[in-house]
Each structure stands twice: as structure tokens, then as C-alpha cells.
Symmetry: C2
Subunit: 254 residues, 2 copies
Amino acid sequence: MDYQKQLQNYFAEADENCLPGLSIDCVIFGFSNNQLKVLLLRWKYTEEWGLPGGFIYKTESVDVAAQRILKERTGINKLFLQQFHTFGDDVRYNREEISRKLHWPDPATRRWPNRTVSIGYFALVDFSKVTPTADFLTDECRWWDVENLPSLLFDHNHVIEVALKTLRVQLSWQPVGYNLLPEKFTMPELQRLYETILNRPLDPRNFSKKMRALGIIERLEEQRRGGAYKSPYLFRFDKEKYKKALKEGNLAFS
Amino acid sequence: MDYQKQLQNYFAEADENCLPGLSIDCVIFGFSNNQLKVLLLRWKYTEEWGLPGGFIYKTESVDVAAQRILKERTGINKLFLQQFHTFGDDVRYNREEISRKLHWPDPATRRWPNRTVSIGYFALVDFSKVTPTADFLTDECRWWDVENLPSLLFDHNHVIEVALKTLRVQLSWQPVGYNLLPEKFTMPELQRLYETILNRPLDPRNFSKKMRALGIIERLEEQRRGGAYKSPYLFRFDKEKYKKALKEGNLAFS
DNA sequence: ACTGAATATGTACGGCATACATAAAGCTTA
DNA sequence: TAAGCTTTATGTATGCCGTACATATTCAGT
């Protein structure tokens, strides 16, 4: 079955079984190499990148749809996933332009309305546990530095902006950051993560003090060997204490 | 024209000109008599209360629709209005039950889908400037104490809960409260507002100190006379300084 | 063994949040 | 008109938290 046919089937199925005029966009953040990253998809036979997204089945809750879409389109399963904004401008993109860029079927073959309202979710994932995989709609799935994104389809650059803002605010309230790191990490790595998200340098002495004062991470005896220079200690989140602290609401970070 | 006819027209018009399966709900907060209030509507010929809401025209942005709906259904114009969450559970209410309760036309006469995703907005308004007015769909429009709401239509009790939570968080970041007060107010009134929203008592000495330290209110020479006991000074927000402080981001309140 | 680059850590200062109690105002009423 | 009642207005002391800041240590590489 050729791509055009597949596309037509995909849309036909969506027209039939999904909520009309509504979609979901997922902004998936990862962290690696001292850089905050976003997972993007490149549509088949094009050079056009965009966020993973999809439609909501008529009998499916929006939250569940977001998880499903994430899974279907990137292989990522069940994780920190949070609705952050609904994008409802009357002209979020030019339908003709998109169809052309993506070699989509003639608009006439679709019942899809000329306008789509999109619900934005963002996810935080452990970079090292994700194997980006392209699906049948896409040629490529890979991480991009947040600081260096290409011009994206639809209003996806804007969507990412808003997600980033939300992430920054949330970081001040709870160490969401822990979803972005592997199980064991060093203090400098944690600091680098915070610096990247908050987009400003932090003092290592104060950072360490504060993080350890929160009482939700524990230092292991283990050190990370092999890198050049002094070996840093490894840390681990104490999930019990983290949850407890969350309930008591004393996890603000500024 | 009788009510049934009007209802049918209303829905026919919505089916024709609005986005299908999407709606807006507005939670309008006001403050009076040391109580946080929400504006609710009572549907015609029923005892059923709910939030003001409506649909989005096909060529209208969601934000604009929210403003329009607010205006149409409560007479309130242009104010602090902010999207806070999109409610997308697959079963947010029982369609049959609602139709019966509200004496809506036979579902068969409507193309409207059995499910609606709703975008929630909340507004903060100066209680003294609002004259609640019922529209053609409703018999009554009035303020209810947040602490003492009836059981509402749809999932509106839940929507209000979420709006309240959002309001509390926002209050810690910026004195949104000022939208809820008349132009001139006393320090105790301001404190009562904060206490109500945050749902805990505050120390008057510390509160006053902090509020004045923010540098965004000014004390007038004027005092509020006529009440029994000592006359309190009046204050006013300094909008210039407020905006400036907002930009610099130093308005946190904890 | 020396070098270079990163890691680890303590102290002093200032500001902000908190706790806490009393005097003054102004209407009421006796 | 004086006493009483209730609300308003306000200052100080304490401790914690955020911030600024510099040096010794580690360890791979040469």
C-alpha cells in the first residue's frame, strides 16, 4: 500500500471514529549532553518537522488519548504527562500550505474542518530510556535541542514555547526535573538540568545545599568513574520522601 | 415564540455555525461580604444551576469566544479572563439526564454529539460593578458563595474546584486579587480577600507590611467613614507600578 | 610527578517570613 | 458626655532561607 493510500485511510479512520476539529499535540522533553531536547517527527518524503500528535476517539478521554498517541507515535509508554494549554486561535495555520508541504490528499477528500483546536500536553522522559522510532506517517523521529529548533509545521514552535514556560514555572514548585534524569545522576548533572530549564547559571555551592536540604535525594557511596578529572558522587531520588514532601507542599524552588 | 422553539433555534444555530463537540465554561469569581462568590445561572423553568457557557463560532478564536459568551450571558464586559483547563473526560455527564432536567428538545432533533469537550476559563470581577442578568435561556443569574454551592449540572462542581485551585496558585505569584476589589478598598478588606481565597487566616501586621512592601498600592488620605468603630484608610492599586512589577516578576506572595 | 579541568564544600550577610500585643479610633448607648 | 465595645493600625525580635563568594581535592592524561 503506498503512502498516499495510507494517509487517506488514516484520515478516513479519524474522520469516522474521532472527535472532529480537535487534536492533541505532545511536547516531549528530554535531557542529554547538557541540553534540553524535544522529540520531533519528520513527515514522510518531506523535510518538515513537527510535534507528535493525533486525534481523540469518540469514546476516549482526552488524557488517555494523549498517552495513546505518545505510545503510538514514539513508542514511549506511560510517564509524566500533563495537559498545559489548549490552542484555539481561529487561524493556527494555513490548511492549504500544510497539505502542500506534507503532500496530503486533496482537502476535498477529507471531511476534516479547516480549523483544528489542539490540546497541548507535555511529557518529561528519561532520555536514556527512549528509542525514538518513526511510525508509518514519518521518516524520522529524533531529539532536537530546544535552543536550536527548525521552523516547524503548524504553530508548533509556539506550542513548544508555551510548554517551556509552563515547565519553568512548575520547576519552581516541584522538582519535576527528576523525570528527566536516569535513576542515578551526579549533582553537576542535576544542576546542569536546572540551569538549562531555567536558562540561567546557578551557584554550585548553593544549588547543592538547597537540593540536599529538600531531603528527597540521597547520595550513594558510588562515584561515577572513568570520566576525566575528579569523580563525582552519584545521587538517587528517594521516591518515598519525594511523594511525602509533595503532599506537604514544601518543595518550592526559586 | 415559546421556550422550546427558542431552544431549538439556539441549538440549530450552534449546530450550524459553531465548532462541534466543543464548548466553553466560565467560572466568574467575585468577592463581597467577606465571601468568595461564583456567578451561576438557573435554567428556565427548572431548579437547575450551572456555569455560564456556550459555543465557539467556526471562525472565532477560543479566547474571543470566551469573552463573547461572558458578555452575552451575564452582561459582563472585557476583564481578567484566563483559560485554566480543558475538560475532556469521555463521560463528563449523562446526556439523557441533562436533557430531561433542562427540558431540552429531543436529542434526535440535534446533531450535537453525545459528548462535549469543554474549555474552562475563569474571570475575576469587581462584585460591585456587576449586575447579574439572566438571558433568554435562564430565569435567574446570581452569586453563590463558593463554600456553599448547590449540586450543579454537568461536571460544573468539578470545574469550579479546578478553577479555585488555579486561582490559589496564581495568587501566590501575582496579586490577581486586585481584579476582585472595587477601586478603593481598605487593608482589612484586602486581607479578608486573601484569607478567603487561600482559605487560612493571616496575621494583619505581617499582611499589611508585605502588601505595602510590594509597592503596588498607595494609601489615600481618605478614610472609610460611617462604619462603626475605627475608620480604616482607603487604598488604591497603582496600575503603573503593578505592571512594572509584573514584568520584573517580583510579585510572589506566599 | 606534574598539569589541567572538573568536583566538593563553608561562612558571612542581608532580607524576608513569622510570631506576637497594645494603643487609638469612632460609633453606640447609658 | 463618658464609658464601652469593636475594629483598625502598627513595631520588634527571631530564625530561616537565599545569596555571594574562593579554595582544596580529585584523577585522567601526559
